[in-house]
Assembly symmetry: C2
Homo-oligomer: 388 residues x 2
C-alpha cells in the first residue's frame, strides 16, 4: 500500500493549512511541510478536510435508487405507507442487491465512509434484506452495519422477535425497535424485549421513535432508565427521530436531555419533511450525542434523498434555523463525530493514529461545506484514494 | 433571429413527446414530427420541457453571492438581523451590481426567466438598491421586476413612504409592505398607505407577512378586503410568507383561503428554515394562486440558497410533506404558472403564441424534476438558446 501525502488541506478544527501523511491505512502525521519521499502526493488546494461522513440512520434495503423514477403510491397516513410497502415491495424487487449497490456507490462518491442501516425484518421478508445489504456492501470501500428493524411491528407481528434474534445470531450489529407505544401498543414489553436482546447478544440498540408530545417524551424516559441499567457503554443506545423532543416545552426538553446524557443515549435525526426536529443545540449543551442520517432514500416511503450526507446536514441545519457557522458546525458534527459515537467507531478522526477515512471539500469552513455541499475534492477510505 | 426546432421534448402537461418550433421569440408550433427547413435543431432527448421558472420572491439587492463566504453575524432574533443588516451592509458593499449580476447569471443557468425581487428602500440606502438591480439586470436574458420594499419599517421609519413613492415614479413595478402590525405597529394605516400607493401608480402590491397565528390571520382579512376594493385584477396583490396560514386550524385556514381566492390575492412562499408553510394543497383547492420564491440568497439575513428554483420547489414540496407526483407538481406549479400569475405575465406557457421562455430537464415528470432537480438540458429565453 503506497503512502499518500495530502498536501495543503485544512483539517477541520486545526485552524490552518496542513499536510496529512497517510501510511498503512492510517493517518501518520498532520503538520506543516511534511516530507515523505516516495509517497504519492495529492494536492488538496486548500480544501477543508473532514473525517469520513457517517450516515447513522438510513434504510438501504428499501431503496429503489438507480432505477427509473417510481411515483409515490401510498396515501398520506403512516398506516397507508406501511400497507403500501408490504403490498408493493415484491412487485418492485425490494430488497435488491443491485439497488443497494447503486446507492452505496453514490454514498461513497460523496465521502460517506460509515453507514448504519435499519433493515426490515418480518415474517414476510425474513432475513433477505440483511443478506442483500451484506452482499451489496461486501467489497465496497464503505463500512456498513445493520440494525435488525421490526418495521412492521414486533409484539404485533408474531414471529418477528424470533427473526430479530436470528439476525443477531447471524452477526447483525444492532437491534431496533419501533414506536413501542404508538405502533407496537405495549411500550414496556417492547422495550424489555429489545433491551433484553441487546444485552444477550452484546448488540447495540437503535429505536425508531416517531411518537410525539408527552407520549414520546415518556418513552424517552423509559429508554433512558433501561440504557442506564444496561451499563456504562455510552452510545450503545440510540433513539432515532425522537420528534417528541422538538414538540415538548423547553424546560421539559432540558430535563429529558440531561437524563439522556446521563444514560449515554444518542439522538439520531434526519430532519425529514416538516416533522419536528430535536433541538440540536440544546441537546449538545446538555452533553447528548447527536447523530444524523438520511432516513429513506428513493423508496416506497418517499421519493426524496440524494445519498449526500453534507446535503443532509444542510437539511438538519436549515430546519434547526442555524445561520451562524458555529451553529451549522453542529449539524456537520452530527454527520461526522456524532455518528461515529453512535456507531461506536474507534480510530475515527483527524489525528495521527486514526483511520485514514477522509473527505475534502472546497469550502472555507463547516458553514460553507454544509450550506453549499460542493463536489468533493477527495474521498479516501482506509488510506486509499477513491476519488480526487 | 434563427428559428429553433426543439426535437423530442416532453412538454409538461401534454402527456407525450413533441417537437416545439420557435420563431421570432415565440412558440410557433407544438406537435409530432414538426418540419422546419432552415431551423436550428436542438435534440432534447426526451427531456421534460417546462415554461421558464419564475422566482416570485427574492432579495437580489441584499446578496453577497459570488464573493467569498461571509459567516453569518446576526443574533437569533428578527431585530438582531435587522440591526446587523443596517450595520454591515455598507462595510460589505451591499447593494452591489457585481453580486446581483453574479446571482442573476446563476439563476439564468438554472432556467429562471422571470424574477420579482424585493428591494430595500429606506432613508439610509435611498434608491441605490433599485438602481443596482436595474443596472445588473440590464442586458441579461432574464426579466426582473422590483418591489419597493420598506424592510426597515414604513410608518416607523420616517421618510420611507416618500421614497417608496419616488421608486414607483421611477418605474418600479410594485410596492411592498412589512408586517403591518408586528413590525410597523399600525396595520390599518400601513395597509391604507401601501394600497393607496398601488392604486395611484397602477402598481402591483406584495406584502411580507411574518406575523403568525390570529394576528397574521386577521391581517390577511384586512388585505383581502382591500384587494377586493382595489378592483378585479386577480393577482395584483400578493402576500408573501403568510406563516399564519400554516399555524391556524384547518377550518380557519379554509375560510381565509376562500376570502383570498375571492379577492384574487396570491400567496407566495419560500418554505424557509422551520417557519410555517402555508397549506399549498388547501389553498389551491380553494382557488388561491400560490407562487414560490427563494427569499434571501447568501446575504446578511442568512447564508442559504442556490438560485435554483427547482431546488426551491423541492424545499416547498418537502416541507409540505408532498410525496406523490401530483402533490409535488403543485410545488412546480408555484415555481412556474403560479409565479407567472403573481407577476401578471402574459404569453406565459407552452402553447403556440406563448413567449419561448423554456427550460428542459432530464426527468420523467414534475416529481422527478423537483426532487432530483438535475442539471438543465436546455435554457431558452425569448427564443434564444442560452444553454444546451
Amino acid at each position: 500500500m503506497t503512502d499518500v501525502l495530502l498536501r495543503d488541506g485544512r483539517p477541520w478544527g486545526l485552524g490552518g493549512p496542513a499536510d496529512i501523511l497517510v501510511r498503512g491505512g492510517l493517518i501518520e502525521r498532520v503538520g506543516e511541510a511534511v516530507d515523505a519521499p516516495g509517497a504519492r502526493v495529492v494536492d488538496l488546494g486548500g480544501a477543508l478536510v473532514l473525517p469520513g461522513l457517517v450516515d447513522a440512520h438510513c434504510h438501504l434495503d428499501k431503496t429503489l435508487y438507480g432505477g427509473p423514477w417510481v411515483p409515490h403510491s401510498a396515501g398520506d397516513s403512516l398506516a397507508g405507507r406501511i400497507g403500501n410497502d408490504l403490498a408493493r415491495r415484491a412487485e418492485l424487487g425490494v430488497p435488491s442487491v443491485e439497488r443497494v449497490t447503486a446507492l452505496l456507490r453514490t454514498m461513497i462518491a460523496y465521502g460517506t465512509t460509515h453507514v448504519r442501516t435499519h433493515t426490515d425484518i418480518d415474517p414476510g421478508v425474513g432475513l433477505r434484506g440483511v443478506e442483500a445489504v451484506r452482499e451489496a456492501a461486501e467489497g465496497l470501500p464503505i463500512d456498513v452495519t445493520q440494525v435488525a428493524f421490526p418495521q412492521h411491528g414486533l409484539l404485533t407481528n408474531p414471529g418477528t422477535a424470533e427473526l430479530l434474534e436470528e439476525a443477531l445470531k447471524s452477526g447483525v450489529e444492532a437491534v431496533g425497535g419501533l414506536d413501542p407505544a404508538g405502533i407496537d401498543r405495549d411500550p414496556v414489553r417492547h422495550l424489555d424485549l429489545v433491551f433484553g436482546l441487546a444485552e444477550r447478544y452484546g448488540a447495540r440498540l437503535d429505536l425508531h421513535l416517531h411518537d410525539g408530545g408527552t407520549l414520546g417524551a415518556w418513552q424517552l424516559e423509559l429508554i433512558a432508565e433501561r440504557a442506564k441499567a444496561l451499563g456504562p457503554a455510552a452510545g450503545r443506545v440510540t433513539v432515532s427521530h425522537a420528534y417528541a423532543l422538538g414538540e415538548i416545552d423547553e424546560a421539559h426538553a432540558d430535563r429529558l436531555a440531561h437524563a439522556l446524557a446521563e444514560a449515554g443515549v444518542v439522538v439520531a435525526t434526519a430532519a425529514v419533511y416538516s416533522y419536528p426536529v430535536p433541538p440540536v443545540r440544546r441537546l449538545r449543551a446538555a452533553g447528548v450525542t447527536v447523530a444524523c442520517g438520511h432516513d429513506g432514500i428513493r423508496d416506497l416511503w418517499g421519493p426524496y434523498g440524494s445519498g449526500d450526507m453534507l446535503e443532509r446536514a444542510m437539511h438538519l441545519a436549515y430546519r434547526s434555523t442555524f445561520r451562524s457557522d458555529d451553529d451549522i458546525a453542529l449539524a456537520l458534527e452530527a454527520a461526522t463525530y456524532g455518528g461515529a459515537r453512535a456507531l461506536g467507531l474507534s480510530g475515527y478522526g483527524l489525528s495521527p493514529g486514526d483511520r485514514a477515512d477522509l473527505v475534502a471539500v472546497p469550502a472555507s469552513g463547516p458553514g460553507e461545506a454544509v450550506v453549499v455541499h460542493p463536489g468533493r475534492t477527495l474521498v479516501m477510505k482506509d488510506g486509499v484514494v477513491l476519488h480526487n
